[in-house]
């Protein structure tokens, strides 16, 4: 695909970028005295439909609108696969767990996904893993066999998570877009850091940590695993010498602060695409930017419903693209 083939998509995305919430608008939302006032503000910015007051419904509508826009804009829908592969693996986990517990997985699936969810449910129920896309088939079979053998959902999760990270790392290596590769590698590394921290906090051994941590891009995988086995402070000390030093500061505060730092870093990377007028990058950047906006609004509205003070909300909301 040539970069100029994205002229239609980029123009459409730029038109929609003008409708993204700005930091000033988000501040106004955070400062709103009540949930109803916050909702009224969102309506005035065209974010919320009249009559819809449920946060989940609002978020789902925005996600659906985002995905429809991307699908209508890009010259080849298959290219969007790179944006949804993590959701595909998440849905595989949901399908596996629901199959093992004999529960309908439909309410647990996340969107957007390029995966045929009916096919996923059916393939998992019949144990016909070969019907799944090649990126999922092997890990689905391995996760199922492990889960039934060990009767441990965690072992299956570890297998699927590691496969998801391997898939992201492969996509980062294969993409021709430098920005997309940077974002995918960041997601890979930051997820590995989260896994390593969890392993360190729960005192997992080296063998388990190595099976849980996926391919790393910005640091040495073996070094990360070895540091995680020595405990959290050793791990943070080791990470301080990597390009993820700023993340360590966030991790020292809390896991929530690290999650926020990860989301903010992705949005910061996406800002590079503001100066590109052709290619897939502006589309990918818009996807991450709009997702960050949706997450920020969800946090604000949920906090407003629970009566959380504005100052506390401000600490949690993500940076915006605009």
């Amino acid at each position: 695909m040539r970069e100029t083939d994205y002229a239609y998509a980029v123009a459409r995305i730029r038109a929609n970028e003008g409708k993204l919430l700005t930091t000033a608008m988000l501040d106004e939302l955070v400062a709103a005295p009540s949930f109803d006032r916050a909702l009224a503000l969102l309506r005035s910015h065209g974010w919320a439909e009249e009559g819809v007051t449920d946060v989940s419904a609002l978020v789902a509508a925005q996600n659906e609108r985002l995905w429809t826009l991307l699908q209508e804009s890009v010259p080849d829908k298959e290219e969007l696969q790179v944006l949804t592969s993590l959701n595909d693996f998440y849905n595989l986990k949901a399908a596996l767990k629901c199959m093992l517990t004999n529960v309908d997985p439909a309410p647990y699936y996340v969107q957007p996904t390029m995966l045929d969810l009916g096919l996923l449910t059916d393939a998992m129920r019949r144990h016909a893993f070969e019907k799944l896309p090649p990126s999922l088939a092997d890990c689905a079979r391995e996760a199922y066999e492990t889960a039934t053998r060990t009767e441990s959902g965690q072992s299956a999760d570890v297998i699927i998570d590691a496969a998801a990270l391997a898939c992201l790392s492969k996509q980062a290596d294969e993409t021709e877009s430098a920005l997309q590769a940077k974002i995918l590698r960041f997601i890979c590394d930051s997820t590995n850091i989260k896994i390593a921290v969890r392993c360190a906090r729960t005192g997992k051994d080296l063998s388990f940590t190595q099976s849980a941590v996926g391919p790393c891009c910005g640091f040495d995988r073996d070094g990360l695993c070895a540091a995680a086995v020595q405990g959290e402070s050793a791990l943070l000390g080791w990470l301080y010498a990597t390009p993820y030093r700023d993340g360590v500061t966030a991790l020292q505060r809390s896991t929530t602060a690290f999650e926020k730092w990860c989301d903010d870093s992705i949005v910061a990377l996406c800002r590079e695409a503001k100066y590109l007028f052709f290619g897939f990058e502006p589309i990918a950047a818009y996807y991450f930017a709009k997702s960050a906006e949706i997450k920020a609004v969800r946090i604000v509205l949920s906090a407003k419903l629970s009566g959380v003070p504005a100052e506390t909300i401000r600490e949690r909301v993500r940076d915006l693209y605009v």
């Binding site: 002229a7 123009a11 459409r12 730029r14 038109a15 007028f277 052709f278």
Partner: protein
């Protein structure tokens, strides 16, 4: 070959039309795609994006004008075909090259700038003046070779 001079002159005219036309077609096509993207979100932008889409179309027009002048100068339009030597024919061919080559390249590049301009207008619709100015600067490098081709065609005796 007794008509070699005329053949060379016609090759020049054809090159001016074909290559400059390709440049314009690519440029206008690219801006057209971007314009459709912008209009799918806001139809009121039509007037602004139309100007941007027209800009890369001029190269094809310049190539067409040069080709017409070659046809006039060689007498093909009037029916009184001139008896050109191969050297004269070659001169016509060379005279057509500036607009043929620069028309092709400037058409494509102006199309890219104009398509980027459409994206700019789609995001900030008060920026159309700047977008048009930026795309117009590329036009300068289509006008210069057009003038050179035009003067050269007229000076060939």
């Amino acid at each position: 070959m007794s008509n070699l001079g005329l053949v060379l002159a016609l090759v020049g005219a054809a090159a001016a039309v074909i290559f400059a036309g390709i440049g314009s077609a690519k440029g206008v096509g690219m801006v057209g795609q971007a314009s459709a993207g912008a209009l799918s979100e806001d139809t009121s932008l039509f007037g602004k994006v139309l100007i941007l889409q027209l800009l890369p179309g001029t190269q094809g027009l310049y190539g067409f004008i040069i080709a017409i002048f070659v046809l006039i100068r060689t007498g093909l339009l009037s029916g009184a075909v001139a008896d050109l030597t191969w050297q004269q024919g070659l001169l016509y061919l060379v005279a057509c090259l500036p607009i043929a080559v620069c028309g092709l390249l400037s058409g494509i590049h102006q199309g890219k700038v104009a398509a980027a301009g459409v994206s700019l207008v789609a995001k900030k619709n008060d920026q159309s003046g700047r977008a048009i100015t930026m795309a117009s600067l590329v036009e300068f490098y289509a006008i210069l070779p057009f003038l050179i081709s035009f003067l050269a065609v007229f000076r060939i005796g």
